[in-house]
Amino acid sequence: MNNPYLPYPVRIAEIRVETEDKNLRTFKFEFLNPGDEEKFAYLPGQFAELSVPGQGEIPIGIASSPTEKGFVLFTVNRVGQVSSYMHNMKAGDIMGIRGPLGHPYPLEGLKGKNLVIIAGGFAVTTLRSTITWLLEPSNRPNYGQITFIYGARTPGLLLYKEEWMAWEKRDDINVYVTIDREVPNWNYRVGFVPAVTKEVCPPPENTAALICGPPIMIKFTQPVLEDAGYKPDNIIMSLENRMKCGLGICGRCNVGPEYVCKDGPVFTLAQLNRLPKEY
């Protein structure tokens, strides 16, 4: 029988330091066993448990897109025991990943719509996956206008610079990158994400918003979207809670009757409005 607790063994192919404070590193993993990559078939918005033998597991959103073959990417913030240990691991080291877990963004159901994708800080990970997937030539024609708003405190805290700089040059996505305060040699926007959203977000007709960010950003961006006329059904968010199993069994990540791991992490604002705010 398939054992959902058992990680697939992977090798760290590459580690990229993402931010100037060195607290965020992107790990590129390659599967050790042939066939495991196919078994790990995922969609943007899902997550996995990164599993370090002897240390434990952490639930992390998948930053790569299923259209990128041969590897999977995870960006890990140094916070606790497992993530700190991972920050001291090296390319070539063996660990495990377990998943994919959770539900993806409902991209299938959003076909034909305009999308505004709003990210703050390092919560941009699964949205990197989403945009990479959307820009794939076989997927892009299925969606309308795509707007990407991404903010961080300083330029050095923005992830995936290569990626968003390349997206900026394209004509099939509008990219607005912003930092909190002015710094020399910064050629993009300055200001908080809610203010930028107010200025650039497309009209709500036939448009859905995907939001991922720190609670404070979500708290102030949500009313901007609602004032602009976005319906709670069309505001889609991804939650985080402490997790262990990722399978809806170990009991700790529930928000009311829903488990963030098994029933989420993606919820619409309409769903969240009917649930306790235990996240």
Binding site: N3, P4, C250
Partner: protein, 347 residues
């Protein structure tokens, strides 16, 4: 399915045949020493109120090794976790009380949910034939009927046993249960009326209590936001004894342990009464104080599980938490508060 009868003189032979090729767990000891254990077929205790602990640990041990790895680079697969597998063996448990069997059935729908199957639970659960023993005279702590169960409930059982004059009656619930009974010295006997009579008497003795339907009818957020929770949680010590004894509490933690040669990954029972249970890496805690944690436990039992399990309540009325709680928090009183309109529940 027809009922069966084992005469008192044939009980030893009956238990011997249950143990044939299988592990047989039966109630052993009395009072708070009573537990389901493997012992000789002539030592079965049929006069107990309930086992001290629920039978959940037979399927979900308090601590269970899941997988192991080694760190020797000269051997294959260093640093790769290997499944330790489930060492489940064919087992018969005799003497599960109907409240606890109901609890197993509720937990089974968590461990084998709409998306994932827990192989460690499944192996044990499916290799175990569960024979219940009906409660002809429920204890003072019992309130299974109020929670929608019955002292003669069948949910989660393969066979329901009940004492009759001069022997033991058996009512098969599943085909697997009937198959097992046919391998014993039990003989067919029409006891349908006898069960009905006994059940009515037992429920009457227990008293059905207040109808908890208002909890089902109220909106989840109305129950959640009700102001009574602060007062309800006031005495709670967050000790977790309720979750330890509860037949439907299934939460666990996963931990790694390292040695010089490698390590193991295990799971251990956990409790939603603990601050650590939900705290984020950032320090943020969605359930930061005991009020949120106590509310979580009762909302989970009385609202969330019914929403997810076709109305079946997550409390089975076994009464263990009521007896064990050091500060006398009583789930029956909490349920009554949840039934009342907000203005009155604060009292």
């Amino acid at each position: 399915m027809p009922e069966y009868l084992v005469k008192e003189s044939g009980l030893k032979e009956f238990f011997q045949s249950l143990a044939n090729g299988r592990h047989l767990l039966t109630p052993q000891g009395t009072g708070d020493k009573c537990k389901l254990e493997e012992a000789g077929p002539d030592k079965v205790n049929l006069d107990y109120s309930n086992t001290h602990m629920s039978p959940k640990s037979a399927f979900f041990p308090q601590s269970e090794n899941l997988m192991a790895f080694h760190n020797k680079s000269d051997k294959p697969n260093p640093f790769v976790y290997q499944d330790l597998g489930d060492k489940a063996q064919p087992t018969v448990i005799f003497g599960i009380r109907p409240c606890d069997a109901r609890g197993l059935s509720i937990s089974n729908r968590v461990f084998q949910n709409d998306r994932f199957t827990d192989p460690y639970w499944k192996g044990k659960y499916e290799q175990t034939i569960k024979i219940g023993l009906a409660c002809a005279s429920p204890s003072p702590q019992c309130f299974c009927a109020a929670m929608g169960g019955s002292p003669y409930g069948e949910l989660g059982l393969d066979v329901l046993a009940f004492k009759v004059e001069g022997g033991l009656g058996l009512k098969p619930v599943t085909a697997q249960g009937e198959e097992l009974i046919k391998q014993t010295n039990a003989a067919q006997e029409d006891l349908a009326q006898e069960i009905k009579k006994q059940e009515a008497k037992a429920i009457e003795a227990q008293g059905v209590g207040t109808d908890l339907k208002p909890i089902d009818d109220k909106d989840l957020m109305e129950l959640f936001q009700d102001p009574h929770w602060t007062a309800t949680a006031e005495n709670c010590l967050n000790c977790g004894v309720c979750t330890f004894f509860c037949p439907t509490c299934h939460c666990f933690d996963i931990q790694d342990e390292q040695s010089e040669q490698g390590g193991i990954r295990m799971r251990n029972w956990d409790t939603c009464m603990s601050w650590l249970f939900t705290v984020h890496g950032t320090g943020h805690n969605p359930r930061p104080s005991k009020t949120e944690r106590v509310r979580q436990r009762f909302m989970h039992k009385l609202k969330y599980i019914p929403l997810k399990q076709d109305g079946i309540r997550g409390c089975t009325g076994c009464g263990r938490c009521v007896v064990m709680c050091p500060v006398n928090i009583d789930i029956r009183e909490v349920a009554l508060k949840m039934c009342q309109p907000p203005a009155q529940s604060q009292a």
